[in-house]
Amino acid sequence: MAAAPSKGERPFVSVQISVNGKPMVVEHGITVDGLLTLLNVKREYTAVAVNREVTRKADYGVVTLSEGDKVEIVRPMGGGAS
């Protein structure tokens, strides 16, 4: 975690998060919705978890990402069993 900006300092303009296990630098204050748009991910049949908690689709526009957040973006894939 980066230290919070002290009084008078400019706020962070970018934060490092992890998306599906890969590091990514994004704009400070980006929402889940913004991230999905940035990554050009289809919304249909897609789900997102931030720090292990599932983000509801209705909250995509309000949940913002902070330094060190772990984002998982999943979708159905081919598979039968384990």
Partner: protein, 259 residues
């Protein structure tokens, strides 16, 4: 012959063969195999999207025609499996879930403690839980009591193709629970599926046996026929087994060939 439908989570299905979406040579072969299997329920895994945004299996599945059954394949704890189900629900895949909590990488046998815990939680959260379990009648009853919509005992290890290794336990499971019993895993060829159905199982779930066959589409059709034949034979009521012969023709009226 009149038959009832398979009921899961209040939804009725005429097909008793559930198929997977893994290991197919191509998406076209998969689509044709699903068609040939006459399946109504198709299971899918839930995985990270490939970035930059890649294609989805759902680009190749008619989601209006099939009921999708997200599975928790690859989950080794109740917590992982539960979170995967939440993700599946949020992704819009519904509340029917094939619950797997794997206990061992080599055999892919279920961790039944984790499975029971996850079944309890998910059933409470409104999911229609279809747990992949071992062929243990006691565990089957515990899963039913925990709120499982059906129980899915393995016939043999996942992907092994060894068939129904313990038909007697499957039979006892059928007597132990009132929820549907669906054999999940182990089927290798058509006769294995027929045996499961002849025992009285309510359905069979398979992936590798079809996807891995040299001609997946032909095998899918063979499985469809086997599941139907086995079901019909079960409903018809087979004859008892006897050690010695019983003549089918009357003994009266035989011509006399003695000189």
């Amino acid at each position: 012959m009149y038959d009832t439908n398979l009921v899961l989570g209040g939804k009725e299905f005429t097909s008793r063969l559930i198929v997977g979406t893994g290991k197919y040579a191509s998406m076209d072969v998969m689509r044709e195999a699903h068609e040939a299997a006459g399946a109504e329920i198709i299971t899918v895994a839930v995985r990270r999207v490939s970035l930059p945004s890649g294609e989805s299996i759902l680009d190749y599945l008619d989601t209006k025609r099939y009921t999708l059954l997200p599975n928790t394949a690859g989950c080794y704890t109740a917590d992982e499996a539960i979170r995967t189900c939440y993700l599946a629900r949020e992704a819009g895949l519904g509340e029917l879930v094939k619950l797997e909590v794997i206990g061992d990488q080599r055999t892919l046998f279920p961790d039944v403690e984790g499975l029971l815990e996850a079944t309890k939680t998910l059933a409470r959260e409104g999911f229609t839980v279809m747990p992949y379990t071992n062929d243990d009648p006691v565990m089957a009853r515990k899963l039913q009591d925990a709120g499982a919509a059906c129980v899915m005992p393995l016939g043999a290890p996942i992907g092994s193709g060894l068939g129904i290794r313990n038909p007697y336990n499957i039979k006892i499971i059928l007597e132990s629970v009132t929820v549907p019993v669906i054999v999940d895993a182990g089927v290798g060829t058509a006769s294995d599926a027929a045996i499961a159905m002849e025992l009285g199982c309510d359905g069979v779930l398979m992936n590798t046996a079809i996807a891995g066959a040299q001609d997946a589409v032909a095998m899918a059709r063979a499985m469809k026929l086997a599941v139907e034949a086995g079901r019909l034979a079960y409903k018809a009521g087979r004859i008892g087994k006897k050690l010695y012969a019983t003549a089918s023709s009357p003994l009266e009226g035989l011509p006399d060939w003695t000189s």
